[in-house]
Symmetry: C5
Subunit: 333 residues, 5 copies
């Protein structure tokens, strides 16, 4: 548990307070108090109920970790859950974790089990400069959310790269590949998860930015709208990716069909040329006593010649059908 206190006009953040001081600090509306509960203990949970008197259901929600983003309004505080992307997240394994936030008139409580890059960055920022604290709890919170949402963008770029990369590999693959299919499925899942999370999160941000809650000052609203816009961009791109990922399966299938077609063509050409020649050879391999050709002087050579001509004729036929010796202009491989 870390407690950051900004006393109006102070140049430095005061980090020296402990749990016992909280009631007093909160009572003075001139203070801005930020309580960050990372990897909270049972004792930390008690702060929520005993000092802040938050609604027990919100405390349950905070402790639990299977919630989707949502916002709930109470008399003198807001409770909401947003999701941030983890550092390990990538296109085939999109993972988010919950950040539970309580916003009061002069306090913020952040409750989370894992390390958040966005929260850490804001801590460093306010240690260096109390500027962002001067505008109140709502603006300080905006700083956290802004960074949290900005960290979605590299993930989205990752999706873009992953899709292009998969597409390239599909076109270059020499045979239908289950590995690529597995990756498409993983990507599909990640994108679905991103869409699910970001659509719920958009709801939350749209309400925060909509002027519905008096705890977020009117002059601060444009900053929340800005966060909303950024997340909206993420969300639009994600829906686009869903379509494109869906298309990849089709493309994979078309490419495999193209290749099967090519393979069958090669089989057909070989069979269609060799089998008739073999038949001729077979005929002259028969043991009939009366087969006049066998006794002619050049029968063998004429037969060989005829075989060559037949092979050429068949090759010409397949060339006319466009199966062989075509310029590969129309082929990427």
């Amino acid at each position: 548990m870390e407690i950051f206190v900004y006393r109006n006009g102070a140049e430095k953040i005061d980090e020296s307070f402990s749990r016992e001081n909280l009631p007093e600090l909160l009572a003075d509306k001139e203070n801005l108090v930020w309580v960050d509960l990372e990897q909270p203990t049972a004792a930390d949970n008690k702060i929520l109920s005993d000092i802040f008197h938050f609604h027990p259901l919100t405390i349950e929600d905070a402790i639990e970790t299977r919630n989707h983003p949502k916002v709930e309004s109470f008399n003198d505080y807001l409770f909401f859950i947003v999701h941030g992307v983890t550092m390990e997240t990538n296109s085939t394994n999109f993972v988010t974790r919950e950040l539970n936030v309580y916003l009061g008139e002069n306090f913020i409580v952040t409750y989370h089990y894992e390390f958040f890059r966005s929260i850490n960055a804001v801590k460093s920022q306010i240690r260096a400069n109390t500027f962002v604290c001067r505008r109140g709890a709502d603006y300080l919170l905006h700083q956290i959310l802004d960074r949290l949402v900005d960290l979605y963008l590299p993930v989205v770029d990752d999706f873009d790269t992953a899709i292009t990369n998969l597409e390239d590999r599909i076109f270059q693959m020499k045979k239908g590949s289950n590995k690529i299919l597995l990756e498409i499925m993983a990507l599909k899942r990640s994108v679905a998860r991103l869409i699910r999370i970001s659509s719920k999160q958009l709801d939350v941000l749209s309400r925060l930015a909509g002027g519905e809650f008096p705890l977020i000052g009117e002059n601060i609203l444009p900053f929340y709208r800005d966060i909303y816009d950024h997340l909206h961009r993420v969300s639009l791109l994600a829906e686009n990716y869903r379509d494109l990922v869906g298309g990849l399966l089709n493309i994979h299938f078309n490419v495999v069909a193209n290749r099967t077609n090519d393979v069958v063509k090669i089989l057909t050409i070989f069979s269609a040329i060799v089998l008739p020649l073999s038949l001729i050879a077979g005929i002259y391999g028969m043991n009939f006593e009366n087969m006049p050709e066998l006794k002619t002087r050049y029968g063998y050579f004429l037969t060989l010649g005829f075989m060559v001509l037949l092979a050429i004729a068949l090759l010409f036929y397949f060339w006319r059908k466009g199966w062989i010796f075509q310029s590969e202009d129309d082929e990427v491989e």
Copy 2:
């Protein structure tokens, strides 16, 4: 039929009453009466009409078992139908049963043909401790609904496992499998049923939690919103699963196409290598009298040598095409 009566402030639930006492018990607004009709008899049905005077259409709905979740408001009571999952339900056979509920100012009537784990749990709870009864009929009902909805979650996890399991089996199958297709279809049906039920049930819960009905007190509403949130999570996951199950058929198809492609390649390689060699053998098996090669000393061995060279050349050609002897990096099998 079981009757539970909680007299204001009592430490114990009174289960000693029978049908005859009901009018008197209900008249005293200090009492909280819960009538649970499990496997109701015709006599039980008469209670609904003769003692509670419920609207005949709601009684018909209660008796019938083909209703979807819905809520109807009357002067002094609410009637609604929710669905709970059965104990036997699983990912390939999602089954729900109806729970018909009447909620009045100081009574709850639950009407159902089958055993409900949630109802049983609440019975045990109130026998042990009357705490939940103190907050009134609406809160008692919340206990039942909360448990009923919580029992959806393991089913949803089941779906998750089933999808991952099917996906693994698709990639590992050695041949296209109708059994897997059958399971995909069963899963598809189950998910469709879950979506249908939970979307209707969400409507019901959203109205219960929305403050529309005065019978559900304002201080109790957050608890209903909590149930709504849980079911919403189920519903979001279910829609996600629908997409993923839909994808499974495509994946199955792609995997089968990959395999057919592999099979045709093997056929082609065998044919393309063996057939030309057979042709050569066939040619020297012809019975022409004048075939000079046949009489040379090393003709046979040269021919065999040429056959080997031709085979190697063809193998090289297919290796270049990437059909054989490739590292299996790109293959999962």
Copy 3:
């Protein structure tokens, strides 16, 4: 044309009146008049305009038979069109016919070209007992609509059976079947028609049940909501069936692909085993003079032995690939 008159409090329906009595009967608001026009004649059409003075456009709509369900409100009557299922309807040929209804304060006019089971049932009912007439024209009409909608349910069950049946046949079919495809298409069409009709009809019933029209009394509205609920169930199921029917084409395709894969495997196994053996036989069938093996004592038998070994090796190879001699656990056939 049949005219049913219920005089307030009467025990029997009076069917003795003819067209001439209508103006007088209608003028007495104590009477309830039901005019059923089945297979209406031009003379019947004149009643609509000359006696009831209905809007000419509604009369046109009634005479025409290509209308979808709709409702229109006029000063002192409602005009609406609903569709009932024909007796001959089934899953592959879903057919409905129009029922045109005028509802006034003390009259109902039903106009239809074909026999309606629901109308006939209500006629029998009121001949036996005037109970349903006592509650007014709106309640009498409810009786007709209720039965009409209830007749949709067996059709929906039919769809369920047809889908399961087709699915079974797809998995059991020994070859890709155009007949099954034709049936899927017919089913697809029927379901689309059912969805189109029921969605329009739901609009009509939702308006009738919504309290919008004073001609339908407030105490009668729950009965209309009940009809709405029943049709809604039909509609939800129908949308479900659309998805499942759409899935059938995919399943058919997957099953055919599985089978083609199996067929190609058999071809490959035969070819891959027999062709190399034939090559060996071909080689020793060559007529070179100097082929030392031919002169050895056991050359023939060694060759045969080698052929057997090669065949076994290839069979082992294909067994390892899982193409042959596998337990059929994973196969339904």
Copy 4:
């Protein structure tokens, strides 16, 4: 340019006026003036601006021909664009042309580049009988729109025929047909165009029929609702056709897959029967000196007999697999 003037109560339409009379005619509110501008000239365009003083943007829209249906309301006139089907339109080439209409209190201006059957029909009608003019400009306009919309219905019937016809041909085709695919694509395009046009046109008609514009009298509104209903029917059918056309591609694909499956089966049966027999023949064609069977008296005949038995065994095997000699019950061809 044609000018039709109906003077209140007149028995005949007066067509004798020219452009110069227009201001005077329009000033007299008792007159009903219809100006039809077919293949309008620059001079005609000037009438719109100089005499009627229409908004320049609407005049631009009228002159241009790439607009979709829309309606715009001005102080004393309405401007709207609707689309009519051309006479040459058919299921594979759905073409519409624009009709620009200005409706004022006592005038209609129709502006179009091509011949409209609906406009021509109304001209004939009012020349024969001024009845429709008596009810005012809004009713006269209704006549034109009614006929224009009615001409959509045969096109929709055309789609129905085309889809059924294509479906039949798909099932009867002896090989996968690119010609059918081309027709499906053309149909798909036509249906998409119909949906696009009719959905925009429905918006226009819904506003015209909704009572939003005082220029369309309340007693005339039911007639516009009637047109709306007709177009709505067209629109519903069109969306249905979109689904069915989409299904045709799938069906085509399934049918081709069925056929490929059949073809591969024939190949497999031929190969699997002939190749082993050829191997046997090949073995006894080897030239080993010590092949005892060759010298037996009935070796040849026993071998032939064995070949026949093997062929029968293989045929039996394929018959058991259901590949051959099956009743064709399950096949349509």
Copy 5:
């Protein structure tokens, strides 16, 4: 940076002012000032904050280049972002760039990194004639937006051509082509991008044209509605193209399947005819001592004759199946 000043009633645009004059110019509400910032420098950015005092978030948005179209309203100015198509844009690479616009009572600020054809055209126009300046900043802005949106139309036509062209090539391709697949994917992406951009841009224009902002005068609104209409047409066509492009993959697949079917047929015909003949040849190539046929005088010729008859019979069989010698009526190739 270019500054255009129109002094009320002036015949010429004054381009002689520089940054220092701006505060004074803007203070005089009779002036219309257009500041065009192309490839803006840091100094230009300072103008936005120091002279115009725009909200810092809008300035950030202007400087950044990853924004989607949006509009934001402030006390005395509007800020919005629209996208214009680049000159290099084409159907397989749809590229747009941002145009940031500030609209005040008597000023426009346009901020963009790249050359805009629309802006350039308006510059030329106002240099030639100050007419469009007389109607105020809102009308001048309309000129820019109108041209910007009009430049979308050729792109849309490009899509149309590209789709038709691809369709033709798919039907004419002699083998499944990955190059065509790549182009379909590129087209799919472009169309998705166009839909995304134009749908957001429609939102912006719908709000500009909706009368929501007093800065856009009521008499100017129809002109903005006109732009909205044009973009709406683009958007409708784009959605249409999405369907058609999606269909192309299916068509490609069907065409490849048709071809594979053809190829397999050729293979089957060759194999089915040649293999049995080879078997016959093989039989008479056996070396049994007792093969009476071999010694008959015409055995060889009878055998050849039988082979020919068998070949003819098989050809007849395949002709009956419709595989060969069919008129190509049903084939496009």
